[in-house]
């Protein structure tokens, strides 16, 4: 065991960081796209179906196929990490988009009407009423998206983007179970940690009340 760690410890650490970086970068892009887009959809609900539908379709593409599609593209294909981040972003869009949209749409319309009647401007209504009331929904979306990305990022190693998947793929190729576990266990722990951490945040932002928002 000690031998194993002295041999692979540094590599596991490095690959974990790489894995985390791929996930974080993708989440950053996905949030920057999906939250504003979700908010926009609440203003233009007629666009909700086509946009959510498209995000849904992206979600159904098998991850290996997605990496395969992106690899031959110019500029993107030059670096495996780029391909991985773009693909992960695509997967993260739907949960964030859907939760932002539903979170804001599910706010009691009479509260929004009160906000209007009190003389809040549109921006104030959004920042002081809609966003805080929808925040736990949005965070729940971020949480689902993050956990999904941590999982899918292991596949990114197939196109040479690094991350913990590298150990898994190498282990499978050389029929070395220890190596497979050296990749799989940290990846699972990472997913659990993200889930737990974001879960705590979600609870923190939950609207106080006897029946907490779902």
């Amino acid at each position: 065991m000690n031998d194993f760690f002295s041999q692979y410890g540094d590599e596991i650490f490095e690959l974990t960081l790489e894995h985390l970086w791929l996930t974080l970068a993708a989440m950053l892009f996905a949030t920057a796209i999906a939250v504003p887009l979700g908010v926009w959809l609440t203003r233009r609900p007629q666009w909700a179906r086509p946009v959510l539908g498209t995000a849904n379709v992206l979600q159904t593409i098998p991850s290996l196929a997605m990496f395969g599609f992106l690899l031959p593209l110019p500029w993107l294909g030059d670096r495996a990490a780029r391909v991985a981040i773009i693909a992960l972003t695509a997967y993260a869009l739907l949960p964030i988009l859907r939760n932002t949209y539903t979170g804001i749409r599910s706010i009691d319309p009479s509260l929004l009407s009160v906000a209007q009647a009190l003389g809040l401007t549109d921006t104030q209504r959004f920042l002081k009423v809609e966003l805080p009331l929808a925040s736990s929904f949005i965070l729940a979306g971020l949480r689902t998206a993050t956990v999904t990305c941590v999982g899918i990022a292991t596949i990114a190693a197939a196109v040479g983007a690094g991350g913990l998947g590298e150990l898994i793929f190498r282990g499978v190729a050389s029929v070395d179970n220890e190596l497979v576990l050296a990749g799989a266990i940290p990846a699972a722990l990472l997913a659990l940690a993200c889930d737990g951490g974001l879960g705590l945040m979600e609870r923190w932002f939950r609207v106080p009340g006897p029946s907490p928002a779902p």
Partner: protein, 254 residues
């Protein structure tokens, strides 16, 4: 005395249905007018034309002699207090923050806001030390309405719009709230438009009573005139309200 709120031939229709027809009356400054009518008679719609939550398709509404249409929308709404039944408090805000929300929106400094909010909680009969940090779900129905009223008073508006403010309360709590409101209005001299379907509430709080039926103004009378009116719709409303009383009295006589 001048008019605090004035309706001039106000008409409104939605989806081909006429909700308000040629409504004209005035609420004198510093007085309360109660608007009575059954559900769907257009009371709430009429109230909402004052702060332009609804824009009439004909006629005009004036607040202190100025047409609301020419006023800046946000400034107009901030200058008018608004109380609605039950659902009006924000679940993610403490009583203190909710009360001072209009001031927060106006960019008033935090300490001043807290000061005003705490004062107002006292004015509506809530001990500020106990209640300022409470969320709506930690308040009873009556307490929530008090917070709602305090919020409507935060920007010190001259005009108050109240849409069935006590509709969801039990009769005893409602009576307490009506007493509190009556005292408060006697002191503050606000111009109030109060929508209600409760005749007793209208008689108790209103200086004038308006009866709407299917979007038309049927009566605009002082409370004592209202009770004696021979207008069929008014008589029907009064009779519908005192049925229990009349039947109990009748049984005793029999």
């Amino acid at each position: 005395m001048s008019a605090g709120i004035e309706f001039r031939n106000v008409g409104f229709s939605m989806a081909g249905r006429r909700l308000l027809t040629e409504i004209s009356f005035a609420v004198e400054e510093g007085t309360t007018t109660a608007v009575l009518g059954r559900s769907g008679s257009g009371k709430t719609t009429l109230l909402r034309t004052v702060n332009r939550m609804v824009d009439p398709i004909s006629g005009e509404v004036l607040v202190h002699g100025k047409s609301v249409r020419s006023a800046d929308l946000i400034a107009l709404r901030r200058s008018i207090g608004y109380v609605i039944q039950e659902t009006g408090l924000f679940p993610h805000m403490t009583a203190e923050r909710d009360v001072a929300l209009v001031l927060e929106a106006q960019g008033c400094p935090h300490e001043d806001r807290v000061h005003v909010a705490r004062d107002l909680l006292g004015v509506v009969g809530l001990e500020q030390r106990v209640f300022s940090g409470r969320y709506p779900h930690q308040l009873s129905g009556g307490q929530r309405q008090r917070v709602g009223l305090a919020r409507a008073l935060a920007a010190d508006p001259r005009v108050l719009l109240m849409d069935e403010p006590f509709g969801a309360l039990d009769p005893l709590t409602r009576a307490e709230m009506q007493d509190m409101l009556r005292d408060l209005l006697a002191r503050l001299r606000k111009t109030v438009l109060l929508v209600t379907h409760d005749l007793d509430e209208a008689l108790y709080l209103g200086d004038r009573i308006v009866l709407l039926e299917e979007g038309k103004l049927i009566a605009h009378l002082a409370p004592e005139e209202f009770l004696q009116s021979r207008e069929p719709a008014v008589e029907a409303y009064v009779r519908a309200f005192h049925r229990g009383e009349l039947s109990a009295a009748g049984e005793k006589r029999a």
